[in-house]
Symmetry: C2
Subunit: 405 residues, 2 copies
């Protein structure tokens, strides 16, 4: 249905740009490597006869005109920037998979009423400029141009200056417009499909997340002279909370997870009872009707444990985003395509953020996941079987063809 | 029995040197402040008619000759260096308390057969040059001169150069010699005496300690896309271990404690399951026959918990020192003095290291503890009631007088 050899060959050619010693990729947003990746993508789009443009955030669009140019745009794509020492599939698959789907359509002489646009969004990873998904957020009302242009990387370079440096400041008029549907194919970046031996994830939405920092305050004392019974050890209390939060998440429905990623004691020395311990919590929940309850329950766990130990605590909310629910109609369309192609699939939510999250603001959106070997991504070992990529791209192809009529 | 007004006045005069804004003291070893403290101490010793000398490590001795100059020396003292923003009692009390005891003896015309020496050891705190107790360790066979002279502080200054700078390089001949007994009075630095409403701690020994770093290795994964059931979260396993180690210590006999002071995850980011977590353990045990068993039991707890979670771990031994057991005879002497003075006292061990620990290598040793308000030391709030200091100094006085005959 699609040409996997052509898709594979393009993916491997793109992977040469920013290739690391261990066969991974470092192609940071607006870097020289990413500039070369952009030029290669544009070349392929032009070879295919697409109308190419880029907007004032450097988002690249390649348009295959529809028989009805005024019909809403069917858009598909992802991003080509990577994290440092990332993999060759994350993001790129969504862009080149869409390119392959369109090329297969044109090759077969399939006419489409709706215009189809392939998109590559700027700075999805957030690895160079925080936060993530600046390009898609910019064109969907999440961020102002001023905000984005003044983002700086760790070395102090501004987004706008770097965008100019690679010569990708396009016209504001070139931003996306009249988009009716957005489909993003992506690697799962988790182990669910592989473990359940299913090929396609039909993604119904993106988990909401709440990021917070908890600080527990006890009393710092000499580790040798303070009897156990006299201690107000903030780390021991934190340890109980960490275990309880993990147990709580294990008993919640699939898709709800909680992670403590950072922890810090004060004073941070070997022979003192820690008077203060801070740790972060990252809670994710895919369902709108459970999200706030999840955050509430985690906070109650902390409250209860800290009170039991007669210590005190404070919580600093870092960032929060409610669950994103994709379009039922698009999800159902993808599901039908999977059934038609006799592919094993599952309805699932994404635990990670993607450009589709913001595109859902303005268009009927859904995602297609393909399995990730060992669930590992954002690393050089990131891998997906080419047979799975072929199946995912075929689903994307048929979904786009169906929606574009 | 002793003159508390004189002792108090000297303690407060010494506390002016290196005084901090919050009424604490910063008088780091071999600093300009400590040099001034040394000169003040020497002046007081000379005023009392003592023979003053210092050795090649800057340890200061003031000798009151005995009627039998060849009899073994009865030595008492401690140190005058402090930690940064420390208190005015830690160390200084032992030196000036001994000075007060000797002055009271001389004042009363009490002859003593044994020579009595007051000592102030260099760099007890280990706050400037690590490790702790360099001066007492140097003259009791723990450290070589070369080792000590080449210790450097955080700014790269060498011990020997700094000792020269304050003009306190004495002759090797001046080191202590023929010491039969060593008594050190010190603040408890813990809450035991205060809580039990006892005035004097008769210290039978110093807890042994084992310092180690444990590293638990799981698997780092994306915090959003990795289901709880697929995680190998090193921090959750570490949290279970920390709680269990604390519970273990709470059930052990008095004096046995365990502390986790430092903890570090890797990668140390909010949205990743920590693949690796390292933490330190400081185990203390006062009894020789239990020390190794304690260390073994803690290691078994870790082994068991890590195995249950199917992770791996390694242990890096940082430093270890067996329990130090003081002289039964000296302990009994101090106990008799307490009884004679109708003072409430308890036999106890010290959880912290002191110069007495190394002096025990070469002399019959014991310590006298006085209560610490709220158990807090190594901080500006460090405090001990003057009435308790008077009682402690009286016990020291009578003990020295009794031993010196």
């Amino acid at each position: 249905m699609i040409n996997i050899d052509r898709l594979k060959s393009r993916m491997l050619e793109m992977a040469e740009i920013g290739k690391t010693n261990n066969n991974g990729v470092t192609r940071l947003a607006l870097s020289e490597e990413e500039r070369r990746g952009r030029l290669l993508l544009i070349q392929w789009m032009k070879d295919l006869g697409l109308a190419v443009r880029y907007d004032d955030f450097g988002n690249i669009y390649g348009r295959s005109e529809g028989t009805d140019p005024n019909a809403s745009v069917i858009m598909s794509g992802s991003h080509i920037d990577s994290v440092p020492k990332g993999g060759k599939f994350d993001g790129v698959l969504g862009v080149l998979g869409a390119l392959e789907a369109v090329e297969s359509m044109l090759e077969k002489g399939i006419k489409h009423r709706h215009p189809i646009e392939i998109v590559s969004f700027t700075n999805e990873e957030g690895a160079r400029f925080t936060p993530q998904m600046l390009g898609s957020g910019a064109v969907t009302g999440e961020f102002s141009r001023e905000y984005i242009y003044n983002r700086t990387d760790d070395e102090g370079f501004r987004f706008e200056d770097e965008l100019k440096k690679i010569n990708f400041v396009g016209d504001e008029k070139n931003r996306l417009d009249n988009v009716g549907t957005f489909i993003e194919m992506h690697i799962e970046q988790g182990p669910v499909l592989e473990t359940s031996q299913q090929t396609i994830g039909v993604v119904e939405g993106i988990a909401g997340f709440s990021w917070m920092e908890v600080t527990i305050t006890g009393e710092s004392n000499h580790s040798g002279t303070t009897p156990m019974s006299h201690r107000k050890d903030s780390l021991v209390t934190a340890a109980i909370a960490i275990k309880k939060i993990s147990d709580w998440a294990k008993n919640e429905p699939e898709g709800i997870v909680a992670t403590i990623g950072k922890i810090q004691t004060n004073p941070d020395i070997i022979n003192a009872v820690p008077g203060e311990t801070s740790f972060t919590i990252d809670i994710r929940c895919p369902r709108e009707d459970q999200f706030e309850q999840c955050v509430k329950e985690v906070k109650e766990i902390i409250e209860k444990i800290v009170n039991e130990d007669s210590l005190t605590y404070s919580i600093n909310e870092i960032r929060t985003h409610s669950p994103v629910i994709f379009s039922n109609r698009i999800v159902a369309t993808i599901e039908e395509v999977c059934k038609g192609q006799n592919l094993s699939y599952r309805l699932m939510s994404s635990g990670a953020g993607h450009d589709a999250m913001y595109m859902n603001n303005i268009a009927e959106t859904a995602m297609i996941f393909v399995p990730t070997v060992n669930g590992k991504s954002h690393c050089e070992e990131e891998d997906t079987l080419w047979t799975d990529i072929e199946k995912g791209a075929s689903v994307l192809y048929e979904t786009l063809a169906s929606l574009a009529e």
